[in-house]
Amino acid sequence: MAGTGDAHLRDEALLSVRDLRVEFPVGRTGLTVQAVSGISFDILAGETLGVVGESGCGKSTTGRAILQLPAPKSGSISFRDQDLTRLGNDGVRTLRTSIQMIFQDPISSLNPRRKVRDIVMEPLNIWKIGTKEERLARVNKVLEDVGIDPDIAADRRPHQFSGGQCQRISIARALVLNPSLIICDEPVSALDVSVQAQVLNLLEDLKRDYDLTLMFIAHDLAVVKNISDRVAVMYLGKICEVASPDALYSSPAHHYSNVLLRSIPVPDPTVVVERVEVAGEPPSPVAPPAGCRFNPRCPAATDRCRSEEPTLREIGPGHFVACHHPLHGGEAPVSVRVA
């Protein structure tokens, strides 16, 4: 379950993250939560990278660390050839106009006391972009693009909207500065299926119209498959598999990806999913297991998995897995040990 290794990285990426580590102290105990333990990935311009995993696997922390919220412990994050970890506060602030974020809970991520127009216009005011009329026109255009009628909505406050509409307003706020990368942290998991479909379609449309690159973090594999060009599966602070959605879903190579896929309820009573039994829940990231981090729950774990951490290697075109004994693609060659 290592996220170590960089076989899957490409040149010419819009965003390139290397060996990212994020740790949090646990109270005054002197212990640390190793939320993200050395992961590398990249996103090409115009691509959608899906990141899936269970709660606590570090997927949201990864998204936030890109924006330096908080700054990671080590690793480099380069966006258009600028390293965000070395830019300093002002530099990061400027760069954040091109990297925006959408959060999970649409209602609590909007200020309840402000009008929708002011919420969406604030980034323009902060950066003093255009005249007042130009800003207003921009806000109206963006609101219209996300499917909110500016004439009716602009003078209302967030509580007068449903969850789906609030998420649209959050998206408008993220779009107003014309960013190139949007990090979507579970943007549809708080929504009903019918509304979820609307927001997913909207994100696809906006991606085309606004030339966006998306990082889409979610725990729902079907949603991630629908929207992504490439999917990274995370477990306990590490990346275990990177592949195109079609390859990942038709032939997962990592045992954890397989468990995740087979846990999804299928909306068809005639389908009997062969469940892979997986014991218990993810271990604590304060004291992660040695070797492959999935080994205590893995049906195929051997002694090698308990001592040696696997690295990501290519088993098919664009399909990378960090596992000694993957479901297909052959055993990992016994190689240099990675600490």
Binding site: S55, G164, D192, V193, Q198, A222, V266, P267, G280
Partner: protein, 353 residues
């Protein structure tokens, strides 16, 4: 100690097979400052012993209020209710609070959506679990503790003797949900309501919890009522499904018949809006325009008509009755899936797409 049926009233109320629960013309309206909210509007269905029922719909369609109305867990003020709920031959709606208390927990139990807030944070797990046993079955402290230990084992909690003396915050979300299930099962109820039992959980844990409920149902010959917005969850875990929209039942059928031949355009739309694993990436999802109606002034005619692609003038004026179209398959629609109007519009929609 393991004889959960020791109580006289319990044996009387629980038939071993056949009809266990009958809901007839049940309604629950709330009077608010803005008007009367028709949260559950004249709903009828029945449930057999050991049967697994799913109640499906979007948020705000009344599914949670329906399950609470059946149990009688509603505030006393500003609620208008009527209709009947017959459980094992006894009418629950007119029963005194004292008698209903004897049924809650012992005969009908409920697992709530949010395991984080449904447990008391300042009482140890063991004591919380023992409470229904001591109250309903009159067990001694020692007997209750032994039973609780067995219950925790049954629901798959590792090191149960250690957990007894822990507090809710020391357990993970999945463990807390297991404790909630153990608590609901404590007195061996014959009906288990599970209101979105897995929404707050991860997929792998969700699968474990649903399997656990299913295993316990089989072992205890219990009926389950699974309330959820996720058609994927009900497909594999129910025998019969009730689809609700705006406080009414719009379709009701056996699970096989519903998924095999769904009739109501709302059910079809709910199903189509789910992203499916077998579809290739970037498949355009079919959406339902708009959102569920305001239940103070529901639309005239069919309540789904403002959002329905097949709606005609008749739909906006005449409310379609819930009819049994084929044995066991009920729906309320003028232009069901497969009708002439449906074909006509579907062809046009496909051309546009």
């Amino acid at each position: 100690m393991n004889d959960f049926r020791a109580n006289e009233t319990q044996t009387r109320l629980r038939p071993e097979s056949g009809e266990l629960l009958r809901i007839d013309d049940l309604y629950t309206h709330f009077s608010t400052a803005l008007g009367v909210v028709r949260a559950v509007d004249h709903v009828s269905f029945s449930l057999d012993r050991g049967e697994r029922l799913g109640i499906v719909g979007e948020s705000g369609c009344g599914k949670t209020i329906l399950s609470r109305s059946i149990m009688g867990l509603l505030p006393r003020r500003n609620v208008l209710r009527g209709g009947s709920v017959v459980f094992g031959g006894a009418e629950l709606t007119t029963m005194s609070l004292k008698d209903r208390r004897r049924i809650w927990g012992a005969e009908m139990a409920m697992i709530f959506q949010d395991p984080m807030t449904s447990l008391n944070p300042v009482i140890k797990i063991g004591k919380q679990l023992a409470e229904p046993l001591r109250v309903h079955l009159g067990m001694t402290k020692a007997d209750a503790r032994a039973t609780v230990l067995k219950l925790l084992q049954d629901v798959g909690i590792p090191e149960p003797d250690k957990r007894l003396d822990q507090y809710a915050h020391e357990l993970s979300g999945g463990m807390r949900q297991r404790v909630m299930i153990a608590m609901a099962l404590a007195c061996g109820p014959s009906v288990l309501f599970a209101d979105e039992p897995t929404t707050a959980l991860d997929v792998t844990v969700q699968a474990q919890i649903l399997d656990l409920i299913e295993r316990q149902r089989r072992e205890r010959n219990m009926s389950t009522i699974l309330v959820t917005h996720d058609l994927g969850v009900v497909a594999g875990h129910t025998d019969k499904i009730v689809v609700m929209y705006a406080g009414k039942i719009v379709e009701m059928a056996s699970t096989g018949s519903l998924f095999g031949a769904m009739k109501m355009p709302y059910t079809e739309a709910l199903f189509q809006s789910i992203p499916k694993l077998e579809q290739p990436a970037h498949t355009r999802l079919v959406t339902i325009g708009g959102r569920p109606p305001n239940l103070i002034h529901p639309p005239a005619g069919c309540r789904f008509s403002p959002r329905c692609p097949y709606a005609t003038d008749a739909c906006t004026t005449h409310e379609p009755p819930l009819v049994e179209a084929s044995p066991g398959h009920w729906f309320a629609c003028h232009h069901p899936v497969g009708s002439e109007r449906w074909h006509e519009v579907s062809v046009r929609r496909r051309e546009v797409a």
